[in-house]
Point group: none
């Protein structure tokens, strides 16, 4: 019984990049539903097997294509000017801008959607993208708690969710536009809710 693990030292970096680029291009052009392994292979000038050898699904390809190359779980850090409100507004406004970026919209929504039904992908997304971000918030909130800026008894994790949940909800449901003003209002309300008692 041969496990057939491919030898990654001999992997063609050229093909890898071509595949990831093709995937991003295609998802932007025709959407995730019409994105197929065959189309990626054709566009990348690559055999289908070269994709199947290294990725388990088209979602996995797209996921890797979306990851900025040099991203590191530990590298995510929120600003800490001492002014919690200002810091959070800065960060949430940036998040709003990112969610509104039309180039990232298709792949991001595709991955979010797919992760509902693909637990593997969900785990990867959580671990590599979501949690590092949320943990950065958690650390910032802990600092704020130590500084007495917010109630010390509140679980910082829940504090984070109070903040990002509403944004995420609006982005997902497309019910109302996602603006800087909205981000500011959410920060205001949340901080009032978290205020020391």
């Amino acid at each position: 019984m041969t496990a057939k693990t491919p030898d990654s030292t001999r992997r063609s970096e050229r093909s890898r990049r071509a595949i990831l680029d093709a995937a991003l291009e295609l998802v932007g052009e025709s959407g995730y539903q019409r994105l197929t392994i065959e189309a990626i292979a054709a566009r990348a000038g690559v055999g289908k097997q070269t994709i199947y050898r290294w990725w388990p699904s088209k979602a996995a390809v797209l996921f890797e294509a979306c990851l900025p190359e040099g991203t590191d779980a530990e590298s995510v850090e929120l600003p800490d000017t001492g002014d919690l409100e200002a810091d959070l507004k800065t960060v949430l406004r940036a998040t709003v801008d990112e969610l509104n970026n039309p180039r990232l919209d298709a792949p991001t929504r595709a991955l979010t959607a797919e992760s509902q039904n693909d637990l593997q992908l969900a785990r990867a997304l959580t671990e590599k993208v979501l949690e590092p971000q949320l943990q950065a918030y958690v650390r910032r909130f802990r600092t704020a708690q130590q500084a007495g800026q917010i109630d010390a008894r509140t679980d910082p994790r829940i504090a984070v969710e109070l903040l990002v949940g509403p944004l995420f909800h609006r982005w997902q449901t497309r019910t109302f536009p996602l603006t800087h003003e909205y981000a500011d209002t959410v920060v205001d309300l949340a901080l009032r809710g978290l205020a020391p008692r």
Copy 2:
């Protein structure tokens, strides 16, 4: 240009029910990815065309299958005992229970996911399910504002999102369990944020 709209007065209610039932059964058994129109037709003892005649996609079938028959947009109403906190906790706990119901899990996640890529479906979901619920919250918040229980200047819509956003986020990301306790905490924090100033 012939639109070829089928005559709905001659529609077979028998087949309609069989199709919706089959869809629900199958999505529970094998998940949304493996749900096919052919399988639905076979299970329902129905020709494929009968599905294509009345629904544009398998997502649309599943959507209708999930809608409780007698649901009416106007019929959704939140309790109003005068005690805002108690009312919200009651409702959010019920929501938590629904999201944790394993029978509804597969179809709900499937529809949520699909609506990311299918704008038609997204619109239907928003209009028929999401908005009626959110508007009920909005009405309850307005009552509370008139009663001076929460700040009158805050947009009730944002208030709603402060409440349901975190729940939705946890359910979607599966990062932590969705409990009654969590719902209560979210209500506490949100109401503190919304308190009159």
Copy 3:
């Protein structure tokens, strides 16, 4: 057990004609393969059931559409001027013209083809069209035998086939053009073969 024989006294002649006309038109436009009962019904402005009620197959419709209205089995008669050669050449040349008529080509070939696989149709064709014609030849040959113009011991039936077989073959195989000259040559050769010994 009700045989459900439709009552032909109440039959709509209007619909009958519309169906037969539509069938002929459609087979001329798009060929037999693309001729469908649904298309005939649509073109004729008739319900499908009205076709199924009165004909067993699209071949049967086409067959009836091809039958000249007042044709009678007994009415077919060959000319008899006393000059056998001239009479046969007249008739075969007429047959050649008919086979070359482009308006009849599609339906005739369709029925010929279909009758290879549809024994019902084959029987009808033989009985209503083919045999009356061949029997007229047989009668003409018998007269010629009595007049001592051809060998009396030869089966007239085989004589007929010697004559029409080659024409039929050329028409079917489309190997060479079917001309008056060809008909004449066949008559010459056949009559030489049938000459009294």
Copy 4:
């Protein structure tokens, strides 16, 4: 404009044989009308696309299935014992036997019928099967003409048709049984018609 011609060097001979065998079996079992590409694929244990890749229609599959493997256009030759009558009777009797062979009946009739409406198939049939046979007759007749056994001015092609036309006619119309005796009679009459003058 890409023609998408498949690479025949990589074709699976195994699948090709399985498909042809399945086609012959099925046409024998249920007739041509009920022969479907899906059934052939299923019986052959092959994907449908493998059939569509290499053949344009079920008729084309059946045609190839009927062609004896090593058949060559030049290899068809009639016997030449010097005795024209005997040689022709031998060959026509063999043809009669072949046409009466129940195993070949269904596919042969199907192909004959189909070639009335499918010009591609008609051309293939003529070129690969019919003409080689007829040309062999033509060569035999030319020899006979040089030997002064039949009239030198008669087009050998027409001579052939005088011979095979009647047989073909009887086989097609199923009006009377096709026997050795019939073949002999046709040869007798035809040769008398072709005799030197």
